[in-house]
Each structure stands twice: as C-alpha cells, then as structure tokens.
C-alpha cells in the first residue's frame, strides 16, 4: 500500500485491522487453515478407503470396472480447466480488468456445471443398475459379499466432493455479482483470491479421487 492512496482505496479495510496488507494476510492464512480442516475431513474417508482396500484388494479391482473411466476422465480435464480459468480470474482482478475477470469466473462456473451434469449421468446410470449406497444396493453383477461397501465409500467420497463443487458454484456466483458491481480492484481482491484457493482444493481432491476410484487395475 502506498501512502498516497486516497481514502476510498482503503474503504475495504475493516476497523480492527491496521492496514489492507494485514487484512489480506489474515484472510489468506484463515483460508489456508480452513483448507487444512477440509483435507482432514476428506482424510477420514481416505483412511476408510485405505483400510477397506487393504482388507479386500480384489473387491476394489472388481468394483472399479463398474465406474466409467471416460466420464471420469472428462470430468478430471474439466475441473483442471476450471482451475486455470479461476487462476486467470484472480490475475485479471489483480490487473484491474473486471470485465475479463467476470468472464473467467463465468467460465469456471460453466465448467463446474459440466462436471455436475456428467456426475448426474454417472449416478443415474448406477441407480438404474441397482447400485445404490448402503442397504438399498441390489446389483448382482459383482461377485463379492462386500461390494456394497465399495459403493458406499464411492458415494460418500464423490457425494461430499460434489457438495463442495456446488458450494464453489455458489461462492463464484457471488464473486461474479460483486465483480459486476466493481467491488474488486488491484488494491482489493481478497475474496477472489481465497475463493480461488478453495476451488483449487476441490479440484485437487478430485485429482486424488479419480485414480483411486476409477483407475484401479
């Protein structure tokens, strides 16, 4: 922050912070800490996955054949692309280019929606076959007594991830409204930055989920 800033340039600084820099650093640290909690939250599911896979290695290779690698692969590319557009949205916000930032946020939401639509087709296809989570599981195509547990883990992991994608869509939509109103500039783009951090984590979790669930041989 330069000292010659007009008073309005500091209007975003909340009263309990000394300056804009302290506010930005705090927000960023807070978001990183929140991401740590997210990693541990999903970490519990990853542990459940590891335990059940260690006990039933054959189940995982069998059951994974029911997952559509092509759809999962497309979704992986879509999410990686959305991370790029999100990063660009932050960059344009830093460069004071609200218009391009707005469109990049829009592209991110579009990619997230594509992801959810593909996920929807994957889920409905499985429901059609009787692959439901838990006791509702009726599929007979996998010859293993614990096949339903694999899909319970699958639905828990992808379902919670999907909820995070939906939350991301909501947050980015809110950023678009704020961007349209000219709330962000090179001096103040904290919400764009920290939402970006969140979105990258959502992306990263999927990058772990995809090989662990779909690509088992």
């Amino acid at each position: 922050m330069s000292h010659t800033d007009s008073m309005s340039a500091n209007a975003h600084v909340q009263h309990h912070f000394v300056d804009s820099e302290q506010q930005f650093d705090s927000a960023k640290l807070g978001m990183w800490l929140f991401l740590v909690t997210e990693v541990l939250f999903f970490g519990g599911l990853f542990v459940a996955y590891i335990v059940y896979r260690a006990w039933n290695p054959e189940l995982f290779t069998l059951a994974a054949t029911q997952l559509d690698t092509v759809m999962g692969g497309i979704n992986t590319l879509v999410l990686i692309g959305s991370s790029l557009t999100m990063a660009l949205a932050i960059r344009y916000a830093q460069l004071n280019d609200a218009k391009k930032s707005f469109w990049m946020l829009g592209a991110t939401i579009a990619a997230a929606l594509v992801f959810m639509v593909i996920k929807y087709f994957e889920y409905t296809h499985k429901f059609h076959l009787g692959i439901f989570p838990g006791e509702a599981y009726t599929f007979t195509g996998i010859d293993h007594p614990k096949a339903h547990i694999f899909f319970s883990i699958y639905y828990m992991m992808t379902g919670l991830h999907g909820i995070h994608v939906l939350i991301g869509i909501g947050l980015i939509g809110w950023l678009m409204v704020k961007t349209k109103r000219g709330a962000f500039s090179a001096e103040y783009y904290t919400p764009v930055e920290i939402t970006g951090l969140y979105w990258h984590l959502v992306d990263l979790i999927w990058i772990f989920l995809f090989p662990l669930l779909y690509l088992i041989d």
Partner: protein, 561 residues
C-alpha cells in the same frame, strides 16, 4: 513501498479508572447484542451459554448420583438412567467443557492480551456462536425426543441400531464441530497476524500460547470427528456398512476414528486451563514464570503428541499387541510435557511472595487435583493395569479429576481472576474462598471413593451394583451434594457482585499482561491507543508504567459496521 516513515512517539497511556462508557454500554438494545461483532460480547454470550449447560449437566449428574444411593432401582428405571448418563456426558463435553475456556474466556481476552481491537474474523466469530447454539438446539431436541442411551462415545454397533435419538444428537455434535473449527481458525490467525507492536512470540502471555495450541488441535482433530459422525449418520439412515458388522463393516474402525478426535479433544479441554494456571501462578506469586519457553512449547508438544496416543482407549478392543505397546509407550510420553508444566508452576511459586486470593486458591487446588488425575492416567496407560481397570469407576474418577478437578477448577480460577476486568465489579472475597474450599472438599469426596470402587471392580455406567459398594457410592453421592452447595454459593455471590458489587479498579491483582493495562470494563475497542509491548508479560520486577506504553491510534477513515 514508498512509505515516508513519520517518527512515532511512544509514551505512557495512563489507564482511565471506572469509565462511564465501556463495551457493555457502548451500544444498547437487544439487537446490539444479538448482532454484535465485538469479541467481548460474543465471549459473554458464550459464557452465559456454557454456564447454563454446566447447570443442566450438573443437574443430570446429581440425578445419577441420587439413583446410585441404593444398589437396586431407586427412583428412575434403567433405561432412563442410561439416557441420563449419556446426556450428562454429551452436554458436559460438547456443550460445556469444549467451548468453556477458549470460546468464552478466550474470546473475551485473546485480542485484549494481544493489544488488538478484535479477533481476525469477527463475523465468523459471531457465526460460530450461532452454529454452537444451533447444535445445542439439536441436543435439546434429542433430549425431548426420547434421549439417547449410547454413552457420549456413540460406539457402534449399538449406536447403529439403538432405538433412541442418535441421529439428531450426533448431528448436533457434528454442527458444533464447525463452531469449534471456526474458533480455532480465528484464534490461530489472530495470534499470527494481530499482535501489538513489540509483542514477539517470546512476549506472548502463556494463556495465548495455550489458546494457540488448542486452536491447532481444533483445526486438525475436529474435522475427523465430523466425518466420523457423518458416516455414523449415514450408517443409520442408509446402512452404508462401514461400521456395522451386520453389514460387513468394522466397529473397531469407528473406535479408531472416534478416538483420533476424542483423545486430542481432551487436550482441547485441558490445555486452555493450563494457560489460565500459568497466568494465575505468576501473577499471584509476583514472579516471572519459571521456564517460560518450557511452558509455552510444552503446550505445542502436547498438541502434537496428543495425536499419537488414541489407541490407549482400545487396549481391550482387539488391537494388535504391537500397537498396544506403541500406544502405551506414547501415552507415557505425552505425560512428559504435562509434568514439565507442573514442575515449572511449582518452581514459579518457590520463593515467590504468594498472595492467596481466590483465583490463586483455585490454582493451587488445581495443582493437587490435576496431578492426581494425571498420575492415575499414567496408571491407565500401563497395559497390564489397564486390563484390570478398563471400564471401571477408576476411569470415571481419573477422567473427572482431569476434566473437573483440572479444567473446571482452572475455569473457575480464570473466571474469578478476570471477573473484575470484564464485569467491572468485585465479588465477595470471603464467600469466594469459602466456596472454593467447599468445592475442593466436595470434589474429593465425590471422586476419591470412585478410585477405590473402580480398583475393586465396580464397572462404570452400571445401573445396579453389588451391595459391597454401597458405602462408597453413598460417600460419593453426599460429595455431589456438597459440590452442588458450593456451586450455588458461587452463583449467589457472583450475582450479588453483578447487582451491587464494588467497582473494580483496572488492575486489582497487579497483573502485567495487556488486559490489565486498560479500563475495567474495557472500552468497546479494548484500547484507545495502540499498545506497544516492551517487557514480557510476567516481568513483575519492571516498573508498571513501562507496561502501559503505546502510540496514538492512527486516524481511521472507516466506520465500523
């Protein structure tokens, strides 16, 4: 950076005594409280809530003790008894003790001790309070709808098919987890980013260090509880089969998940208490704390080693021999940093000029009770002994010596220590001392017999018992009444203090940390200047004026909404 640095003058800022306006009356009306972003008001609302739930949990405990007056049924049936002890545990742990020190006292004092105007994220702070209330509502709802009889540990497979309100209860705890996480995130960020000029890590009050370590545990452990409870809820609603052996799942996996959170969680409950004791012992001994870094870093050591000992709850659950040995060793190991603290506190008191005011009385009682609790914990960590004592009253007594004798006594010490600061009123010192002694006697009378019973084989959570235990149970029940009388007395003189207590000076105990360098009660923004820290928080040998240094607050162009 194109800053042209203007020279700033550091000068002493005398404290205004008995201020007309302060944070309690700066704004008025219900809305100014419900929607407040002031950490002190949020802390007060937390304080009122945790005291209320302590009262609820305490009544449940009195009911349990009364039922145990006789070996057979006394006034409630076995099913009710199971629900009452589950609720007692769940209310005391999730609604009282976890938020008690950090979210109530910590919220009020962390920013003040850092010389900051507020926590880093005031809105999240308010949100965490309402999330906590929301979770509490679910708990009350499950109480009204049949209660829950699984014990506060919710072990599978019983919790997957018990007919009681498991879902609403665990969902309530799940929600309260978010509140705890937000508090942790907020505190860690605040300690990192909001310290006053000159306040290096080596000049942080030890209460702040303890809240920091607690924040680390909250952030790392609570999400695992969240996913565990979510899986349990899914187990009950969809039958996902991960924990339920009838569906091919593994109930011991639930225990691993649960204790991965719940062992560190006992440190969420006790570490802030350690912080309070450090403040009390230094202030009332008029001495620099002995081994500042040892006390500060042992909190962090506890936070990290505490994550590696969860298996000591499962010595009898069919764990492999190798893991029980490793977990037993690590459990002994986590006793070390705690022992370091006790030694340093005692060394601080050595040759100090001890002022036995009420808070210090609580601190000394804490030293006795917590040491007993801690050493019996080492006993339980020993494999062969634990096989004998597992699931007996010995465990119940150990847990209460640590949690009640430890955390509750530290909480009471902190409450009395800071009461003049955040209410602006003094309390009746004589009554406070009497109450403290009554509580000490009542506590020991309640829980000491339980060690004996437990070592003789009285199992915990049992509704009926062998006649040979009746005398000890009756001692324990009478002790619980003495405890009840003690707490009523505390409530009485604190209410009197609020209504017509003498006005409190800004520094009644001669403390040296920043909260004593502002008015009682504090102004709405804690300080009218920017405090500058020169000395450590326990440097009682330095002139007090040098603790009141600061620079003029920069003119702020924003209104605070």
């Amino acid at each position: 950076m194109t800053n042209t640095t203007k020279p700033v003058a550091i000068r002493e800022f005398p404290v205004e005594e008995f201020p007309e306006t302060h944070y309690l009356n700066a704004t008025k009306g219900l809305k100014s409280w419900m929607l407040t972003l002031d950490h002190k008001r949020i802390g007060l609302m937390y304080l009122a809530s945790v005291i209320f739930f302590f009262f609820v949990g305490g009544l449940l405990a009195l009911a349990l003790r009364l039922e145990l007056w006789e070996p057979a049924q006394n006034f409630m049936d076995a099913e009710t008894y199971n629900r009452v002890f589950t609720l007692h545990g769940a209310v005391m742990i999730f609604l009282f003790i976890i938020p008690s020190i950090p979210a109530a006292l910590g919220n009020i004092f962390l920013p003040v001790m850092l010389g900051a105007k507020d926590v880093a994220f005031p809105r999240l702070n308010l949100a965490s309070f309402y999330i906590y209330l929301g979770g509490a509502m679910f708990t009350l709802y499950s109480m009204a709808h049949g209660g829950i009889d699984t014990g506060w540990t919710f072990y599978t497979p019983y919790s997957t098919n018990s007919g009681s309100a498991v879902i609403s209860m665990t969902f309530g705890v799940f929600i309260m987890g978010f509140s705890s996480i937000l508090t942790g995130v907020n505190f860690i960020t605040t300690v990192h980013k909001m310290r006053a000029p000159g306040q290096t890590w080596g000049k942080l009050p030890l209460f702040v260090w303890s809240l920091y370590a607690t924040g680390v545990i909250q952030v790392l452990a609570t999400p695992v509880l969240a996913i565990t409870l979510l899986l349990l809820i899914m187990e009950r609603t969809l039958g996902i089969g991960i924990f339920d052996p009838a569906l091919g799942g593994d109930p011991v996996l639930f225990q691993h998940f649960f204790w991965f959170y719940s062992h560190p969680a006992v440190y969420i409950m006790i570490v802030p208490g350690f912080g309070i004791i450090s403040e009390l012992i230094s202030t009332f001994s008029r001495k620099v704390i002995f081994g500042y870094w040892a006390v500060a870093l042992s909190s962090l050591a506890i936070a990290f080693i505490g994550f590696l000992v969860w298996g000591h709850h499962m010595f009898t659950s069919g764990q492999s021999e190798l893991s029980t040995v490793v977990f037993s060793f690590l459990t002994f190991f986590v006793g070390l940093p705690t022992g370091i603290k006790i030694m340093n506190w005692v060394a601080t008191m050595y040759r100090g000029s001890i002022w036995l005011a009420t808070p210090m009385l609580y601190a000394i009682e804490f030293l006795f009770l917590f040491t007993i609790g801690g050493l019996t914990g080492i006993m339980l960590g020993a494999l062969s002994v634990d096989i004998h004592l597992h699931d007996t009253y010995y465990v119940v007594a150990h847990f209460h010596y640590v949690m009640m004798g430890g955390t509750v006594f530290a909480f009471l010490g902190g409450l009395h220590y800071w009461w003049p600061k955040f209410t602006g009123k003094m309390y009746n010192e004589t009554l406070a001392k009497i109450a403290s002694v009554i509580l000490f006697i009542g506590f020991n009378m309640t829980f000491l017999p339980q060690f004996v019973m437990g070592s003789q084989g009285m199992p915990r959570r049992y509704f009926g018992y062998l006649e040979q235990f009746q005398t000890l149970h009756q001692y324990s029940t009478v002790g619980s009444w003495i405890l009840g009388v003690g707490f009523l007395l505390v409530a009485y003189y604190l209410i009197v203090s609020l209504v017509k207590g003498a006005k409190a000076p800004s520094n009644p105990w001669g403390g040296r940390s920043l909260e004593w360098m502002t008015s009682s009660p504090m102004p709405a923004h804690n300080f009218e200047h920017v405090p500058v820290v020169i000395h450590g928080p326990y440097d009682h040998h330095q002139p007090i004026a040098e603790f009141r240094m600061g620079i003029d607050a920069p003119h702020h162009d924003t209104t605070h909404a």
